[in-house]
């Protein structure tokens, strides 16, 4: 009787030991699974928050350009693709902003990821119309015989007609010679124009933007944005689709076709054709990312805690 009891007790103890070993092994396996799942969640949160910060740059607005400095004036940006992430922007000084993002796991989980990006404001502010007219010049504008300046946009573009064909400093600065054709009227210079941003544009390495630091002759087809520190001559073989900016004068020679806009701080002489196409200009500006903020310096992605 007592021997049978001992065997039963011994068997039960052995079973308990075996169970403990099995449970321990299973616990290890489950721990590994949990650690793996947490790692995946952590990476997903990090990607989510970095995406939110990047997307926030695409929601840049005039209100951000004009916001006051300090954390109390932070502006939240609805840039998240899911409810997990949020982003806000704070102005540090005239030329520096910080975009912060935070992503949290849905309760009851408590995972969190943060990211912050230091940015400079867009080269072209949200209040600047990159293409108010086909021809804008702060100096004397002459449309020679045979020259054409048209404020009529092509039918493929949503904007149909520009308010003015030529914007000049004063009405007397606009000379239209006999035989010249101007579709649209002359008007005053806008208060804020892309001409005020030529210097930073000359430093830019944006896609589709060509910056030249000296007087230039273009005598071949060109597409995009041309920024010249000096005078620019569009030779007889030039065929431009986009925007030409010059800190000096612009000379559009005979047979030249410009579709987009030309703008000069100096004067302009048009013997060829300048046709307004705001769609082409906006596309070039968008491609170059000139209306989006730019990462500031080599440490733009700041350590976030």
């Amino acid at each position: 009787m007592s021997r049978r009891g001992a065997a039963l007790a011994l068997t039960l103890v052995l079973l308990v030991v075996l169970e403990c070993v099995v449970i321990g092994t299973m616990h290890l396996a489950l721990q590994e699974h949990r650690i793996g799942a947490n790692r995946v969640a952590s990476i997903a949160l990090r990607l989510e928050v970095e995406n939110a910060v990047r997307r926030a740059l695409g929601y840049w607005s005039a209100s951000i350009d004009s916001m006051a400095t300090g954390p109390e004036h932070r502006i939240p940006i609805a840039a998240a693709t899911t409810g997990l992430a949020s982003a806000s922007v704070e102005r540090l000084n005239a030329g520096l902003y910080i975009v912060r993002g935070e992503a949290r796991e849905a309760p009851p989980r408590v995972g969190r990821a943060v990211a912050q990006l230091l940015v400079m404001p867009p080269l072209i502010g949200a209040d600047v119309d990159p293409t108010p007219a086909p021809l804008v010049a702060e100096g004397m504008v002459t449309v020679r015989a045979g020259g054409v300046v048209s404020a009529q946009a092509p039918s493929t573009c949503a904007d149909s007609v520009a308010a003015h064909a030529v914007l000049a400093a004063a009405p007397g600065d606009l000379v239209i010679e006999a035989g010249a054709e101007m579709t649209g009227s002359g008007g005053p210079l806008p208060e804020s124009s892309i001409l005020q941003h030529i210097e930073p544009l000359l430093e830019s390495t944006a896609f589709g933007l060509v910056a030249v630091a000296t007087d230039t002759l273009i005598d071949a087809p060109f597409t995009g944005i041309l920024v010249v520190a000096g005078n620019v001559t569009l030779g007889v073989n030039a065929d431009v689709e986009g925007l030409v900016l010059a800190s000096g004068t612009i000379d559009v020679q005979e047979n030249v076709r410009v579709e987009g806009a030309v703008m000069a701080r100096g004067g302009a002489v048009v013997a060829g054709s300048v046709a307004w196409n705001p769609c082409v200009v906006r596309q070039a500006v968008a491609l170059a990312g000139l209306t989006r903020p730019r990462p500031a310096g080599p440490r733009a992605w700041l350590p976030a805690f």
Binding site: L14, L18, P71, E72, L92, I98, G297, W301, P303
Partner: protein, 234 residues
């Protein structure tokens, strides 16, 4: 009666022998099972610990890399990499005598004995010694997670600046573990001593990040970690 008694006694002895034999067999089998289970559990435990060491090493180095640029790698060899290890970010929010007020967030509070500052504002990369750091509640408006501090600096940065707090540290893959050394202090292990030195070590440092290998239980795991501000980050 006697014959019956003798038969009963003989039967009892045989029964006892049979029972002991069976019990021995059962004990042998059960002990074998126990030993096998224990071996399995021990092996699984060692594998889990080794995997944990590899995972910790990867997470630590990846986390450091995300805060760095290629210029923050001061030296690299087969078994170590010396870096600027960033521990906090501060935004200047006012002028103080001999320094600035900052809104600070970081892994820990800055320690002038081992930390320096790098100015990270656009286009500026200047390293400044941190001479002192004291709490300055209410000197500036801060957001959640930030502490307002008064810093004494060797050079006061102009205008609003972004300041990064860093310590000079080195990671070592030696002594069968990933180890961290601050300045001239000793190498403290960050993982269990389960990595083999023979196959573990650091690889190339590029503008994008750096590589390292972990030799775990005879298996070499190659890893690459990337700088957040690497060559192709923007």
């Amino acid at each position: 009666m006697r014959a019956d008694h003798c038969r009963r006694a003989g039967a009892t002895l045989i029964e006892l022998l049979a029972a002991l034999t069976l019990l021995s067999l059962i004990v042998v089998v059960v002990t074998g099972m126990c030993v096998a289970q224990l071996r399995l559990a021990r092996a699984a435990g060692v594998r889990a610990a080794a995997a944990d060491a590899a995972r910790t090493a990867t997470m630590v180095l990846a986390g450091e890399a995300r805060r760095m640029t290629a210029g923050d790698v001061r030296a690299a060899s087969a078994d170590s990499i010396a870096i600027r290890a960033f521990r906090g970010t501060a935004l200047t929010c006012g002028s103080a005598p001999g320094g600035v007020f900052v809104r600070y967030a970081g892994d820990r509070l800055p320690d002038p004995a081992k930390d320096s500052i790098i100015v990270a504002s656009a286009g500026v990369q200047q390293v400044i010694p941190l001479l002192g750091s004291t709490p300055a509640h209410g000197a500036c408006t801060a957001i959640a997670g930030e502490a307002v501090l008064e810093w004494r600096l060797a050079t006061v940065p102009s205008d609003t600046a972004v300041l990064l707090v860093f310590e000079s540290g080195a990671y070592h893959l030696s002594g069968r573990a990933l180890r961290y050394r601050i300045g001239a202090a000793g190498r403290q292990p960050l993982t269990a001593e389960l990595l083999s030195d023979a196959g573990s070590g650091f690889g190339a440092v590029t503008g994008r990040g750096f590589t390292f290998a972990l030799d775990v239980a005879g298996r070499t795991i190659d890893r690459a970690v990337f700088f957040a501000n690497g060559e192709d980050a923007r």
